[in-house]
């Protein structure tokens, strides 16, 4: 079943075309890596899906519902959640509270927190491996812990689709390995994923498919090994000279 569908999506800022004519669809249970060099439009695409930006034209469908003009909180309640490129915790609130916010508001409003909420939050903190920091203000966590917290908070909203923005950027090989396990655990919970991965250290290992963007255009789509051999993708990442050498 198709979960997310983008139909000829365009986004221009003033006269700059950030995304042009993107068609794409993601099925339930799938993990898709979104790759491309700096400025390719990856984060812009996330912001469109999450409702932070309105597309200039085109449509976004989620579970068959047109979400093109919905607000971020409405889209979250429908079941799309995200993490941020530079994580955005609520710094003066404890890690536990950060996750609780996601749990309490992720599916609309509930007036009073119940004990199950805390149990749930605790569980999520355990999954991402920072349960021992539950009472620490999020602003005092390390960068890697903040990314995990971002992920736990996003999961707390009980999404069907999770958008991860550069979740493993700058991670050491050990951390990347842990991130891979984490992604697989998330998938086991029945969540589909779209993963932005500029440096390809995560998506090559976990993705079913890759979507490659360059200068706002889709340049390739398909299984990881195919996309990575694609001429346009190589050119976008490595430049023309490399390609010429390949041709020789």
């Amino acid at each position: 079943m198709i979960l997310l569908q983008l139909k000829s999506l365009n986004k221009t800022f003033n006269n700059f075309c950030a995304l042009s004519d993107i068609d794409f669809s993601l099925s339930e249970g799938e993990i898709v890596g979104l790759v491309g060099p700096n400025g390719a439009g990856k984060t812009t695409l996330f912001n469109l899906i999450c409702g932070r930006y309105r597309p200039s034209s085109g449509n976004i469908l989620f579970k068959g519902i047109d979400i093109t003009n919905l607000k971020p909180h409405e889209i979250c309640r429908l079941g799309i959640s995200r993490t941020f490129q530079s994580s955005r915790p609520f710094p003066r609130m404890s890690a536990m509270q950060n996750v609780l916010v996601g749990h309490i508001f992720g599916k609309g409003f509930s007036l009073h927190a119940c004990p199950e909420d805390r149990q749930m939050a605790k569980e999520l903190l355990e999954i991402v491996g920072i349960a021992h920091k539950a009472d620490t203000p999020a602003g005092q966590l390390t960068l890697s812990e903040q990314r995990r917290l971002d992920l736990a908070r996003a999961l707390a909203t009980r999404p069907k689709l999770l958008l991860l923005d550069e979740v493993a950027a700058g991670f050491s090989p050990v951390l990347v390995k842990q991130a891979i396990q984490l992604v697989n655990r998330v998938r086991e919970r029945g969540v589909s994923l779209l993963i932005i991965d500029h440096f390809l250290n995560l998506s090559l290992k976990v993705s079913d498919r890759l979507l490659a963007l360059d200068h706002g255009e889709k340049i390739a789509e398909g299984p990881p090994h195919m996309v990575m051999r694609n001429r346009d993708v190589l050119q976008a990442y490595l430049g023309l000279r490399h390609q010429d050498e390949e041709d020789d």
Partner: protein, 331 residues
């Protein structure tokens, strides 16, 4: 892999340092209840503390909005509308202050709705400046609508605080300073209870999340604009009620006074000095700073005693950005 950094972590409990708060709340309220018995012979002290309690309520009301991260420099608009609304209704229509005081709160809420729809799309300094400018609208109207408000002459002879009757038993809150003190005290306690409830509810959680990181807050399903508006409306309502209490307490108001910078600045100063991320901070600051100002600095410097507020504000922002109550609780 998780490096357990031995950095000194501030212990943060979910519920805003409850133990510190509980003890000091108990002692503070006890002191405030017994105050009239201790200073029986000295009306001046009691009068100062009545005003301190009213200003504490004002600071608490201000912090309904403050907790969501917005800084208002224009709460005098709500204060003035509340004061004039209640005073005029009781003067012209002869209504009981029991009725006019909450109605004044509703007038202020109406104004809050206007401010909200126009200004809440702004953030940070832009929002603060817009509220500062907004005060001028009700002030100019009050100042010039002579037929209704008697313009800059102000209103005199406003009825005092009302009488509470229960069968044969009654207590006239306007009759003595002690009675007025207890009425304002009761209002303060109710407001404090309400602030505590809201801050600890899920709404409080949402408002804090919005303050901390708005983009993340909306991304996890919080209807940011709705909560910001709601907090502004509550803030406006209780600021209006405080203004109405002020009118019936002092029994004389004029536009320059109730719409003055004083009533915009003072709740903000108390909230920031006390700690706008805490429940009690703003109230504690009002109950400490105002008496200090009146008892110590006013006799020393009759003309410029209010420099105290400016000085304390600057010092807190430099050395205790979370306010002294916020600092104490995490010490």
């Amino acid at each position: 892999m998780i490096q357990s950094t031995s950095k000194k972590t501030v212990q943060y409990d979910d519920k805003w340092g409850i133990t510190t708060d509980k003890t000091s709340l108990f002692l503070g309220l006890l002191a405030l209840i017994t105050l009239p018995l201790l200073v029986q012979t000295n009306d001046y002290i009691l009068q100062v503390f009545t005003h301190a309690l009213l200003l504490a309520s004002l600071a608490l009301a201000w912090n309904f909005l403050g907790i969501s991260g917005s800084i208002s420099l224009g709460h005098a608009a709500f204060f003035g509308v509340g004061a004039y609304g209640s005073a005029l209704l009781s003067l012209e229509q002869g209504l009981s202050p029991w009725l006019t005081i909450p109605m004044a709160g509703l007038f202020a809420t109406g104004l809050g709705l206007m401010v909200g729809l126009i200004c809440l799309r702004l953030r940070g300094a832009y929002f603060a400046l817009a509220t500062l400018a907004f005060v001028e609208i009700p002030r100019v109207i009050t100042d010039n609508w002579d037929a209704l408000t008697r313009g800059s002459l102000g209103l005199v002879g406003i009825s005092g605080l009302p009488t509470l009757r229960m069968g044969a038993w009654h207590v006239d809150f306007g009759s003595s300073i002690t009675a007025s003190y207890y009425l304002v005290f009761a209002y303060f306690v109710i407001l404090l209870g309400l602030v505590t409830f809201v801050f600890r509810s899920n709404m409080g959680l949402a408002l804090q999340a919005i303050r901390e990181e708005e983009i993340a807050a909306e991304a996890v399903g919080i209807h940011v604009n709705r909560y910001r508006l709601l907090s502004l409306l509550m803030s406006a309502f209780f600021t209006g009620v405080s203004g109405a209490c002020y009118a019936h307490l002092v029994r004389y108001i004029e536009p320059g006074l109730v719409y003055g910078l004083h009533f915009s600045a003072v709740p903000m100063i108390f909230a920031i000095c006390g700690g706008r991320f805490t429940i009690l901070g703003p109230a504690v600051a009002a109950l400490v700073l105002y008496p200090v100002d009146q008892f110590i600095f006013h006799p020393l410097l009759p003309a410029g005693h209010e420099f105290l507020y400016g000085a304390v504000l600057i010092l807190t922002m430099l050395f205790m950005p979370n306010g002294f109550w916020g600092r104490l609780r995490n010490a």
